[in-house]
Subunit: 425 residues, 2 copies
């Protein structure tokens, strides 16, 4: 193999804590629906740590990473003008297009994709896993590229208010963490059990609500939310929740408690909030709290009733248990944390006794791109900066720092890290 | 105590399987918000069996039962014209009113009640439990009577199309099982993740769905539902689901599989379906199946994708596990079964991997009365009969048969039993 067909990539070696920067072949088109993308930036994400820590029993050496933006440099035969099969999603992609990619592939054509549930596409694969080589490389092969890639060169994909400047590193946040945060917020705000407090009308799914009860709905009932976990996704969830609730202009206002046991994360959240709260409809109260403080805050705010909804952005049993504790009867828990196979910490009896609703799972990033793109542009003050106390991206580094960055990220010593695979050491 | 102040009641003696018919005092008003109701009929419900079987570690002798209709014979001072406090819910109740009662009390005034979540009223108590004497008696004390009782003597409570005849025994079904069945169906049909397949538009909670995906929504995607458990509540859930889906006149139609391991229950469901399917919009397919058959049916119908929603009307771990197995990724499980404190049978990882949504818990009967009343009147052919193969109520018996009826019901030898506490032996 000639040197020209090799690239540099960050590879995971099982069983755990073994990251190496190695030369590997530049991928080739292997299916007519493939694209090859030259990567501009790739991200290091909290869920990369699951394999890194050996929690996923991965037994295959593979390239890490599932967040990237870049440029299409090769396309399979499905994209050529004389292809037999050229559905609209595929027809739009051209060599040279600037693209951002969800962390999972999606065909865009199956029942799941067409329902908007793109991350559970019947053919879906996760980048940076044994099933599909990852994005911490210089080049990547994207299966089902027409249904998967979001084409930033297509003017139709841009919001009407196209901005002068959107930083490339901020676009990387569209691959996972920003839409995942939005997903956490949307699941909570769209749940039928949360609507009563947002609309000041009782839970009544058709036109048959009991009128006598309806007349009594307390207008002073303040919607109250908790976000558990203030890593990068939790911060995105908080920003999205503030944005969406602000737009609703609720007469009762709303309250948010953002919870994390780690002080540095709480401080980051406070800095970001102080920046964005100038330009937004402010909540009646916004508190950043440790776990015990959060319990007291919710108790005091709601006289012990609990939160209308809790956004769980951690993915472990203590987060689920805290979410259960903070949520009100008939409240909902929007859980976007990646959970493992430990026994569930709650019994059916506990869930019955509190009439708890849950939405679990992975964000359908491809489906949420337009909404995430809007928020990304609106909040460039947070997403567009690097290394700022009130920004989301901590550092942009070369692959030479990969090993130490994995270690530091694992220990919580650094925030969101972005790799520039072309940076000279 | 004089004989005139005594009544006959069915009492549970701990720890298990010990039912006795005994003389106990007729209850008195103990709080200004109380009513005393003379009971016309009371029901025997599947959830009475939890205490009967010793599963709830009840250590107090108490009167059983939580379903009743009857007549108000005494009211507390909150209901008198010169009372200090006479909110609208309380003002309407008069001596002599015919009433039906939810299986839990609700004040009608707290945040939970006003949101429509009446079964989690801050003061809520369950009839027929150690906390509150039950309905398998001749008289009962109803706390928070103004917020709890549904007044059948108030013309405002009746549907516009007031029928000539509604049987009293059928009205008893409004206390629990009919609204609980409706609740199971409504939770499923109103869930945002189920709406794509009902409305033929992708999951898109605001106006920002990805247009390119939206264009591709497959019109031929048929909404598919499973109901697990065909006891009386499961039958009510099925009737409600058929009714609500029928009204929607979906261009794609819909499919239902109703599941129970017990052949007699399956046969009952088939008889009822054959009666009601004449007058309704029929589903594309309606199957009554055993567990293994149901798995095959869903597999074949959906090419392995799964059901849009599953109604879990049993309340044990095998039902939850089956629901998980049958539901599609991004599907929802509406769980109204009363669950115990056994470890939950699914891990967070399993829930994440399938993007499962859950709604757990108890039906807010008081809130759903109007909707349940409509369906009760519409389906008197099923609900209004007694002892009919295609009816829901199996027998009306006196208290002299109480001991044997509990035993027979426990063994699944009889269907829905109604007690007439005034029936001479």
């Amino acid at each position: 193999m000639s040197v020209a067909s090799l690239q540099v990539a960050i590879r995971f070696h099982p069983p755990s804590y073994d990251i190496r920067v190695e030369s590997v072949p530049i991928p080739e088109i292997t299916h007519p629906d493939d694209a090859i993308v030259k990567i501009r930036f790739s991200g290091l994400c909290g869920s990369d740590l699951h394999a890194y820590r050996g929690h996923e029993a991965v037994d295959k050496i593979h390239t890490c990473g599932h967040e990237f933006i870049g440029e299409v440099i090769k396309l399979g035969s499905s994209f050529t003008a004389h292809a037999q099969r050229l559905p609209s999603l595929y027809a739009k992609l051209k060599i040279g297009n600037k693209v951002v990619c969800p962390f999972t592939t999606s065909c865009g054509e199956c029942q799941m994709c067409r329902s908007g549930f793109t991350c559970r596409c019947i053919q879906s694969k996760l980048f940076g896993s044994p099933a599909l080589e990852g994005a911490q490389a210089q080049y990547i092969r994207v299966p089902n590229a027409g249904g998967t890639l979001f084409n930033l060169s297509d003017p139709d994909t841009w919001p009407l208010s196209k901005p002068k400047q959107v930083s490339d590193s901020s676009l990387l946040l569209l691959a996972d963490i920003l839409p995942t945060g939005i997903f956490a917020a949307i699941q909570a705000l769209s749940h039928p059990k949360v609507l009563p407090v947002l609309t000041a009308t009782p839970w009544a799914l058709h036109d048959k609500a009991s009128d006598d009860i309806s007349d009594l709905f307390p207008k002073e009932n303040v919607p109250t939310f908790a976000i558990i976990g203030l890593g990068p996704v939790g911060v995105c969830a908080t920003i999205s929740l503030l944005d969406q609730l602000g737009k609703r202009q609720l007469p009762s206002g709303f309250r948010i408690v953002a919870v994390d046991p780690v002080e540095s994360r709480r401080n980051k959240m406070r800095s970001i909030y102080s920046k964005i709260s100038d330009s937004e409809v402010r909540p009646e109260a916004f508190m950043v709290r440790s776990i015990e403080e959060a319990k007291e805050t919710v108790q005091a705010w709601t006289s012990g009733v609990g939160c209308s909804a809790v956004l769980e952005v951690v993915g472990n049993n203590s987060a689920l248990t805290l979410a259960y504790e903070l949520v009100q009867p008939f409240g909902t828990i929007s859980s976007v944390g990646v959970h493992g196979e430990r026994p569930f910490p709650l019994t059916g009896g506990q869930l019955y006794d509190k009439n708890v609703s849950f939405d679990f799972g992975r964000c359908p990033v491809r489906s949420l791109f337009p909404m995430a793109f809007d928020l990304l542009i609106k909040r460039q003050d947070v997403f567009g900066t690097v290394g700022d106390e009130s920004g989301l991206i901590d550092r942009i580094v070369g692959f030479d720092e990969a090993v130490q960055m994995y270690a530091a990220f694992d220990k919580g010593e650094v925030g969101k890290i972005v790799f520039d695979p072309w940076k000279e050491t």
